[in-house]
Amino acid sequence: MSSNEDQIMEKEETGNTKKPGYSAKDYKSPLKPIWCPGCGDFAVLNALQQSFAKLRLPRHKVAVISGIGCSSRIPGYLSTYGFNSLHGRAIPLAIGVKLANPDNTVVVAGGDGDLFSIGAGHMPHVARKNINLTVLAMDNRIYGLTKGQMSPTTPLDTYTSTTAYGSYDPPVNMVKYVLAYGAGFVARAFSGNLPLLTSLIMQGIEYKGFAFIQVLSPCVTYRGKAEYDSIRENSEVLPDTYDPTDHKSACEIGDIEDKQYLGLIYRNDNLIPYEDRIIEMRKHAQKGKVIPVGELINLYRT
């Protein structure tokens, strides 16, 4: 704890003299993560910082929005703008942030429960609206923060604190759902493969539209240390020959459940982002004469 405070002091002393640059550590906040050692979320944090650095995004033009969960703690560990909001509500909140000022880069981070259970209702709509956000679904297949209950991605027959006889809810297949919702950028990454994770986050941020990345991010505490190995065994990076622009093959990849394919699964560059539609609509609305707001009352003169 004291080392954490020292860090804060150090920051404050040096903060004024030297403007932060674009190295990964410039995106780090003075807060020390509360995650358990070995938690997959460290890699996501790391990959985000590297992505911001490589893309040279000014810190003040980035907002990271999260819900509630271990994974959702992530904005606190970044030096950008952040909002640690309510369980399940990161997506609509991020939509407001993005639409208020589309110049800013807006990233959403949340857990499997956050994004596919309590907040699942928002996913089809953000995907079809095609709002230019990058969503990181940090999937540990468990409720971490509340200490180990079944999540929507928990595999069948798993013992958790709420499934005393093994889970009997078939799990959600995130990639399949999001493809069906019409997302134009769908990828799967793994905390155990940092270069791929970083590369996908960067592509997602640069993609003009809704980008969804499922990150297999093990919870070592409630699913065990063996989770890394089991993911390694059951996953495979998509070969270079794979064509992510083909929706049909993307759906086929999405359908496969005994093997988790990693990489960019689908990318469609022909979709129009929501913000662009709004700009078009404004042009249309402003075609006639636009009266000053104070004179709007005259529209109601009889």
Partner: protein, 635 residues
Amino acid sequence: MHAVRLPEKGRVEQWETRKTNQITIGIVGSGGDGAIAAGEIMASAAAHEGLYCILTKSYGATIRGGETSARIRLGANRVHSQGDKLDVLVCFSWKDFQLFKGELELKDQCVILYPEGDVIQPDQLPIEPGLHPTVIRVPFIKLAKEEVGNELTKNIVMLGVLAELFDLPKKGLVAAIHHRFERKSKDLIDLNLKALNIGSEYAKNNIHESHPVNFFYTTSPPKLLMTGNEAIAIGALNAGCRFMAGYPITPATEIMESLTRLMPMYDGTVVQAEDEIAAAAMVIGASFAGVKAMTATSGPGVSLMQEMLGLAVIAEIPFVLVNVQRGGPATGMPTKSEQADLMQAIFGCHGDGFKVVLAPCDVQDCYDIIQYAFAIAENFQVPVIVLSDQFLGQRKASFTTLFPDHIEVAERKLPTETDLENYLRYKISKTGVSPMTHPGIEGGEYLASGISHLENGYPTSSYFVNEQQTQKRYRKASRIIEKYPLWHYYGQKGATLGLLGWGSTKGIIREAVHLCTTAGIDVVGMVPRILHPLPIDELQDWFSTLSNLIVIEMSYSGQFLQYLRSQMKLPSTLVHYKRSGGSLIPLGEILNLIIEHCEESVTPEQKRIVDPEGIFDLDKSPTVSMHLRGDIYEL
């Protein structure tokens, strides 16, 4: 002129025709009869000739084609409420009328017009027994079909008849028809003008029954005509709102509908969200990002937004939420008014969350209150709930003008260079407000969060810090009430009988006070427009001048009185008038209450001045004379 009371069998009476400078007309029919359209055209006509009017519309359960009614009250002087009993009823269908019976009461000497072909005979009308109406049958359909050439114009034919019979604004009707159909086609304008003319010619030549109602007025410059929901939409734009997210819900939808049309003209954004939770989240997100933002909904939507309200409280995000109240709980009565979301607004959402609650009291006030809401939200970084209701939101009213430059447009308190040197978003301050940055401002990066936090936004579970931050947030209250003394008094200050109500109830309070004052009955009305924080000192001072207080509200459980009680000491003689929503508070019931609770007894002469037509039964004790009344408790 003398008139004959018609239907009462075997009895013929004579009386003087009443010249009146206000008139209340009800129009009832099924969807295809155009009752609502006729009401709207009449309202527009009235406003065009400078009259005051209030138009309320009522729909049955059917989406389209079901029973509808329009009630319009016109006046040469300001009209404050919907009008109690009808002077004139136009009934296209008696079956539909029966469905609205409780809402459309008739004056004893009213005029009833209905289609000639109707099988119901004048002596079989399903109206209150004992009334003395003048009944006139008009071949609306035949005239529309044969003379105008389009059966659908029968409502306009009817307006022509009314205009001729009662001297209603004819020039205004012509202008209103132009106004309504100008975007459609010239042919439609001509067709409707023809219908209007045929109606009035018919009345001139064929209706010889004399009748007791005659409206007179002098024309003045055209007035503005709008609904409360429209006033909120343009008021919000005037306050600088440039982001709105919502989910359709009766009776609030028109706010979103108006804004979807207007907002893009001013580079703003409206999002139709997937639900109210998302709508509220989007608004908080946009506001966090530096744009003035709002949502508008009704009770069920506000219930879904509770968690988000708490988030706006603790993260100190300006957030404007309009609740156009309808009957509750659950789906309740979507098209009817109620004032039973008060407790939810003030105390809703878990935890100790300080929210501001404002309540507009008429259509014009909707324009002002929404601007105050933005000013308070931005200046104090708090959620502000605007409690409108169906009666305010969906009624149309005419008035002289609105004042776009009246209310300061607040800009958010941004940090200075010095603040940014060691930026603390939630810095403890005397006022409770601390500078707020937003994405895009260099050096102002911070973590907003719904979790209890330190001054810099980082999470903490320290009880001490939590208490400090809670105090900080509550500290805003006293400055808000100082800076925004939003309340109205009506009538004689110093009168010892007081009427207290909020929101749309003001109409009835103001009218009752006005009538009584004219008759020399001393009574004073008070209507707070800021309900939380409550102007306790002001109310307490006022209470000390009263010997009797009547609290009026449209809430079965009496939420307003319960709230007042929890905040202050009330006068010892207290009368509580409350009723559930659905039907508006009738003026007669309030007048009766006043008369009953006046210190000095009211003379028959005074009663005659208050109620020259004798429609309110002021001579009888209210407990026996009123069947449609609210619960009254003397406390």
